[in-house]
Symmetry: C2
Subunit: 344 residues, 2 copies
């Protein structure tokens, strides 16, 4: 009863324009598509008829018959459009796509594999020309049949298993290792780890980098100072307060930005920010405003996005080379918190 759709007040079609201009529909088509072999006088008649009627071509109808049948649309499935990493990837993808007159249909997955399947299907049913996915699922065999049907895929931030398509990932393990090695140069030895759910592949990689660095220094992680499964800043703040209340660590490595925020808050609450060194994975806005500034291992989401979209367009244009993993390097940004001098 409620929602009786607004009267669609049917838009003018090419037929309407043709009738008003007194030409054939094909001539209107030529003018709309900028084909140059139309008599100037007819071009003018068609133009003014189109303007008068407020005619706008229907692109989906045009693509239906058009050979190749591109929709000039790509799909982008992100972890969460609201988070800075996802939105920076989006921005890079958008810029590249816009230069090629391609639009982006985007949605968030929130680590929900089922939603990923549904959205993938919906995007395919709309015949996007290609798909960039920040994976939430674990099984990507369905990709195979879609690729055979001509769909292009690129994965971002995490590796699909098995590797059926290109993937662009940050150097999570190497970056984490470098970050912790940097931290160890303060000659601190008791290093705590605060991290996200280990079921998330990037979190597991970063934890591996953490243990790599300790091992290289002849150390092993102390289980009492390792906390996994932190998904929010508030959870991280509590966990850190908990640990700091006892015998505090000398240094802390945090595996992602929300965790870093929560742990830094706890350090400030306890006035330990000048005593306990910290390096976080992922940059955070305004990290430089704090005293001390927060040293981080920054990812480069724009580079990830650019690489992903350029691979996707290569694939859409017929590149048949075997799928490959592209690793985007991370960068240490030194701001103070990771270089605290040990008291004499």
């Amino acid at each position: 009863m409620l929602s009786e759709s607004a009267q669609p007040k049917d838009r003018p079609t090419m037929r309407d324009v043709a009738a008003l201009a007194g030409v054939g529909i094909k001539t209107v088509s030529r003018v709309v598509n900028g084909v140059s072999t139309v008599a100037p006088e007819l071009v003018e008649r068609v133009r003014s008829a189109a303007d008068k009627l407020g005619y706008r071509p229907n692109l989906t109808a045009a693509n239906l018959r058009r050979s190749g049948g591109r929709t000039n649309t790509i799909g982008l499935l992100l972890e969460d459009i609201g988070n800075p990493f996802s939105s920076a990837v989006f921005r890079a993808v958008e810029d590249y796509a816009r230069d090629r007159s391609v639009l982006v249909l985007a949605a968030s997955l929130d680590e929900n594999p089922q939603r990923e399947r549904e959205l993938t299907r919906k995007l395919i049913d709309r015949r996007v020309d290609g798909l960039i996915i920040m994976p939430a699922a674990q099984d990507y065999r369905y990709v195979l049949s879609e690729q055979q049907a001509g769909m292009s895929f690129v994965f971002v931030d995490r590796l699909p298993t098995p590797l059926l398509a290109d993937a662009i990932v940050s150097d999570n393990r190497g970056g984490a290792r470098t970050a912790v090695e940097h931290l160890l140069r303060t000659r601190r030895r008791r290093v705590a780890y605060f991290g996200d759910d280990m079921a998330i592949p990037t979190a597991a990689e970063r934890f591996a980098g953490f243990t790599d660095a300790l091992a290289a220094a002849g150390l092993v992680p102390d289980d009492r100072m390792v906390r996994h499964g932190l998904r929010t800043a508030e959870q991280a703040r509590r966990a850190a307060n908990d640990l700091l209340a006892g015998d505090p660590p000398e240094a802390i490595f945090t595996s992602q930005n929300l965790v870093t925020v929560g742990v830094v808050e706890a350090l400030h609450e306890r006035d330990l920010q000048h005593d306990v060194a910290i390096v976080g994975f992922d940059d955070i806005p305004f990290a430089a405003v704090l005293q001390p500034g927060i040293t981080v291992m920054a990812q480069d989401p724009a580079a990830v996005g650019r690489k992903a979209v350029s691979r996707l367009f290569d694939r859409m244009n017929g590149d048949q080379s075997p799928p490959a993993v592209h690793t985007v390097l991370t960068r240490l940004i030194v701001r103070g918190s990771g270089e605290l001098r040990l008291p004499e």
Copy 2:
């Protein structure tokens, strides 16, 4: 020469499925659309034929003939998908749309009116069901003819002129006024203003709120303490350092988050953070960790996005009421910097 498009390996169509299942195309259509009046045995034959061929329906083709002709897609034009305000609006829009099986085509405008016109047209040519726009342009008369053709519009963050469609905006003027009135309660009188380009309507509104509050207290802005046109944190930091080097103000109001960051950095550089009170418009991460914490007037981008998308769907469902402006209230978050006590 270069990009020979990948062989489209033409996807199976309903006709292919019908042939394999030994039924008419219309029966396949019924099964795909879940029409219940099909013999169970035929349903089964169609299903297995579809699976075998990897059939996926072509939604754009389906919508072409379908009455009403909805594409179940809306367009969203933001200032910059990469900035937190835009991406928070996006997230709210997405959640509402997804619950209704509608996807979102999004793009950034970067304050470029020409790009806004082009993208609006492209989205209309794809026959989105509605359009949410964070305006960059100044002239919205084209909206009128599109509305007559059945397109729904909602504007966000800024008002279109003339007001031809619903608009959802933050309470920029009122929020700024309340923020500055709060600041004046510290009994400081010499209040500086640091703000963005006055050509941006929200910046102008916030400056108006600033002067409103001063006027209500019997004060007038001191031109020497008013700086417009600050677009980055670095510009704001320099401008603040410049002012603070001379005879510093007693209090500062900043009109957006990047400006707040730059000014706070300058205050810390000069160790004036406990002497000069400050309130910023727009919340910033880590504002609570600083000493003192930064008091802000926070916007609610999620509420803006929710309201915008629900108005849009109402319009799409035939709501014909006159266009209205919906104001989303801002919220003062007290953290210390705006409540500094005056030295005796």
